[in-house]
């Protein structure tokens, strides 16, 4: 697999869209390309951020935050 092909697969990989039969070949190429492959995969995760930032934020209730912070403080107190 060329590095260009690996890049295409890596972008599918980070969104969980690699088919099972593609996974083995991808993992093998990932090992072969080493750190270069790992660095590229980290870069690909920027796609997640971009997709989230493409959405209009939705309002959550203050009560939800209060519950969350209460749970966190209870967890800390244990």
């Amino acid at each position: 697999m060329s590095f260009d092909e690996f890049q295409n697969r890596a972008r599918l990989y980070v969104i969980g869209a690699l088919e099972p039969e593609e996974t083995g070949e991808f993992e093998e190429a990932r090992k072969n390309f080493g750190q270069q492959a790992e660095d590229f995969i980290v870069e690909c995760y920027n796609l997640h951020e971009a997709f989230a930032l493409s959405l209009r934020p939705e309002k959550s209730s203050e009560a939800l935050k209060d519950r969350l912070m209460s749970m966190v403080r209870q967890r800390q107190a244990k």
Binding site: I15, P57, E58, S60, L64, R67, V72, R75
Partner: protein
Amino acid sequence: MDEPAAPHYNTYLSAMDPIETEGVPDLNGAPAPRMPASAPELEPGAPTDLELMQAIQAEDPEALSKLYDRYNGILKALILRVIHNEAEADDLLQEIFMEIWNQAKNFSAQKGKPLGWMVTLARRRAIDGLRKKQAYARAGERLQSETEQQPDAWVHNATEEEITFSDTRILVRRVIDTLPPAQQQAINLAFFRGMSQREIAAKTNTPLGTVKTRLELGLKKIYDGLKELKDEL
């Protein structure tokens, strides 16, 4: 090579696909427009996301509170995009921020940015939630029904957070909107529904190889758009 954004692509788009396709220009071969490589700049003196994550790793609840204020709206929008249910989205959002608190020690800045880590975590939980729901209902009917009931989850009052992120959202949307509708649809189904290539092919009556090509081309264009801006900064 890009696929043409021919009108017939719109026939592939189901009612559940909330990505807007009207007026999408045919930009075959056109470079992706600029888009931000990260969240917008913060107010002067405000802690960065990384500083907040480091404080959460040191078990500072105030840091989690600030991170919640900064990103709860974006994460909730992501969850809603997947599961289309307000009450379940709130429950999941709370669980996700608890997981952020509990799993913060596993965050590593070498492996990416805090927002990317949180989005990855939130998406996984939301898709898990969706799959659990689908276990109790026939997936197709359920998704179709929910979308018809809530076709526009984007209508709401503007919040401070929304205003802060609006420029970023517009830029990101701009690059996504340049993709041919069929590519948008494939990415939407893969990212926001957690569908495999085969599931997308079945849902859209499209050959598997075509689905793969659409995903690869669309993701590459978005990736290149991100990278282009990052390289210029």
